[in-house]
């Protein structure tokens, strides 16, 4: 019998139609990946199976687990099934655990709430479970609190809770999206092992097609609440039917062609940069200790060069970015733009030569200002900012350059989609024709299809304006196509610097090798890619 069988599931919340006639199934011991872009309904499909939908949701169709109709179960019956027959792992390990309870108590709770074992045995079982997910007793006693663990370790605790009663079905909703690539690889490995060991069915929801291709036995592609294509992984990858599937895979592996950079002449020079953060004092009289986020970093970015900076969270790349922007002081060393030292004091000479595009397309703009005011904010650095028709012409030209319309100048940001907002952010960075632009995870929050468009835009702008930029990202595949040269950062240090293709072809530093090995790869797709 099929383990999980979803047939013609439709879901509406209020007047919103979230899911339309969704059908899919998961067999025991099988890994099924549901993928799609934001708004595709993939997470809601998972929550429907858990019976954890908002109260205003109405469903039709059927969800059956080993023949039990889940939609017909009472809330009390669903409580019995959750945790026992179905386990779930969530996206945000940092917030998925109760901060005021120990990890031991939280793992034991799954066992105790279903009265599966008496308390003393439940405690021993919780210990075994934590050992099984890779949290050993010596470093992770049951009395640890969540805040003492890293994101990856917390995700292991969440997994331990989910598999405590050996559920037949495990649902994982973007389980590695919030994690670094090396941690992601370990967590995926753990999930794969658990599926084999327990003969569980795993329904994994992820937007990352490389993860899907790597892990899943079967793939379900969703868009706007509908299943557009489904099939065994190898079959589907090599014989895509639906144009949306083809577009999705093509966009995930989108390549752009950058123009040749000009002959090297230094633009940004970072010499021996050191940035310390004071740690909270251990006691009143002790000297404050410091955490060194950036350790003696030196590199040069040449005029017309597209330089990448990759590293995992906490490696110091954000701190370095802020120091280059002159938002934070250095403890020693120096950063020069065109020969002028960058400091935290407001020097308009430097400010006007440098701009930035941030990650979050929603937080990057004052919601109360119109687009024309938003993108002209850098005019503040100019001695004689354009006025009157010169100003409106420049606004119109810049908006056109990033693929928007001049009329958009009078709108507010909430009227734009995430991708369009990122275009506005680029317009703001471009309007004063700065010599250097910093892209701080500028495409990381975007869906793959939108990301591909923004990467195209950047390539076009390189052609048209001869941009020099520093592209900071954790996403290796993006950095690979959009930069000429690349720096790899680990624990506050640049461990490797070379031409991008060289780094990816022949990585020299062990950390770079580990990073590249951990990143899931889309297989070479021989056909059908539009």
């Amino acid at each position: 019998m099929t383990l999980l069988d979803i047939t013609n599931l439709s879901l509406r919340i209020g007047t919103h139609e979230i899911l339309k006639e969704v059908s899919l199934s998961v067999e025991a011991g099988e890994i099924v990946a549901i993928t799609g872009e934001s708004g595709s309904g993939k997470s809601m499909t998972a929550f429907s199976a858990m019976g954890l939908l908002p109260e205003t949701a109405t469903t039709s169709g059927g969800i059956s687990l080993s023949g039990t109709d889940l939609l017909a179960q009472s809330e009390a019956q669903m409580c019995d099934l959750r945790g026992q027959a179905i386990g779930m792992v969530f996206q945000e390990p940092m917030t998925a655990l109760n901060p005021v309870k120990t990890i031991g108590d939280q793992v034991m709770e799954t066992i105790l709430i279903h009265k599966a074992l008496p308390p003393d045995q439940a405690r021993a079982r919780a210990r075994e479970l934590l050992d099984r997910v890779g949290l050993s007793a010596d470093r992770f006693p049951l009395g640890r609190f969540p805040h003492e663990l890293s994101g990856g370790q917390r995700q292991r605790v969440v997994i331990a809770m989910a598999i405590a009663l050996r559920p037949k079905l495990l649902i994982a909703d973007e389980p590695t999206t919030a994690l670094d690539v090396t941690t992601q690889a370990q967590i995926l490995e753990l999930l794969r092992d658990l599926v084999r060991e327990f003969d569980m069915g795993l329904m994994i929801i992820t937007h990352d097609l490389a993860v899907v291709a790597d892990l899943a036995d079967r793939i379900v592609v969703m868009r706007h609440g509908e299943v557009v294509e489904t099939g065994a992984t190898q079959t589907l990858l090599h014989n895509m039917q639906h144009p949306y599937t083809k577009m999705l895979f093509a966009a995930s592996n989108h390549q752009v062609t950058l123009p040749e950079p000009p002959a090297p002449s230094p633009l940004l020079e970072v010499k021996g940069a050191v940035r310390d953060y004071p740690l909270p004092r251990k006691n009143l009289f002790a000297k404050p200790e410091h955490f060194r986020a950036v350790k003696d970093v030196s590199f040069t970015l040449y005029r017309g060069e597209r330089l990448g900076l990759v590293g995992e969270s906490g490696c110091g790349k954000s701190t370095l970015t802020r120091a280059i922007l002159g938002l934070e002081p250095l403890q020693s060393g120096e950063i020069c733009l065109d020969g002028m030292a960058i400091t935290t004091t407001q020097n308009p000479e430097i400010r006007r030569r440098m701009q930035v595009v941030f990650q979050d397309p929603f937080g990057s703009f004052n919601p109360r200002h119109r687009v024309d005011r938003l993108i002209t904010e850098p005019f503040y650095t100019l001695i004689a900012p354009p006025t009157g028709s010169a100003r409106s012409d420049l606004i119109a030209e810049t908006l056109r350059a990033v693929g928007l319309q001049p009329e958009d100048a009078q709108k507010y940001v909430h009227q734009f989609s995430g991708g369009q907002r990122q275009r506005i952010a680029i317009a703001r960075a471009l309007i004063t024709r700065p010599e250097l632009i910093l892209f701080d995870e500028a495409v990381s929050a975007l869906d793959v299809s939108v990301r591909a468009q923004i990467l195209d835009l950047l390539a076009d702008l390189c052609e048209a304006y001869g941009l020099s930029y520093l592209f900071i990202s954790h996403d290796l595949s993006v950095v690979r196509t959009i930069t000429d040269r690349c720096l790899v950062m680990q624990k506050g240090e640049i461990v490797e610097a070379a031409a991008t293709e060289e780094i990816f072809a022949t990585p020299k530093h062990p950390y770079t090798r580990a990073l590249i090995a951990a990143a899931p790869q889309l297989p070479e797709l021989d056909q059908g890619v539009a």
């Binding site: 922007l325 407001q346 930035v356 941030f358 990057s364 703009f365 904010e377 650095t381």
Partner: protein
Amino acid sequence: MTRNLILGTGLSSLVVLAALVSFIWTPFDHTAMDIPAKLQQPNGTHWLGTDHFGRDIFSMIMVGARTSIAVALVAVGIGMGLGVPLGLAAAANKGSWLDEIIMRGNDLVFAFPSLVIAILITAIFGAGAINAIAAIGIFNIPVFARITRGAALSLWEREFILAARVAGKGAARISGEHILPNIANLLIVQGTIQFSLGILAEAGLSYVGLGAQPPTPSWGRMLADAQTMVSFAPHLALIPGSAIVITVLGLNLMGDGLRDWLDPKLRLAR
């Protein structure tokens, strides 16, 4: 939930209107004594009855509304006028000695309830409405400083503020141009809440004789006068008390309504 807003604004406007009308008209002179007509129950002539000197209670309530509103309003003004700039400055210089001094100063003022501030001020300068204003106003400063700092701090982490910094704008300019407009709703809502708390505090202070002094009428002192007569003339206590409840209730409903109307996601410690 605009029902709250309508009801609250209606009640509050009623009280403000009574206070304004009292400048040009009251049914009787609120100070005129008429001993033969003393302690009357509400009737056709004296709509809310008379007190132990035969004064018309309705007129006293109208004029008393002035005192309450003036004291609470100026106290909110003091709290906002000083607290908001302090909070903005503390947030703009997070972790600096300035932030530290402002926040420790706040903690210190929080240790002095407005009654205690009123006691100290009265001990030095004697009683009066100005003291009540100062006492409640001083207590409001850390309230606004704290809420401003908290909201401003989270905004300072937002990327649009970083973008403004990259454009070379200074802390003062960013605070005025980006931070203040984005926390204005929060401050308006907190302002109505502090306004209503100010009405309650003023009543308490005049009740114990630390607020407005005779002949300035105030609801709190009317209650103090009523206390000994409560067994045989309960309306003397019920009427001014109800006036306070209606005013405060109206302001609170208005605050809640405003909060829901301006921003459903706005969170307040209340």
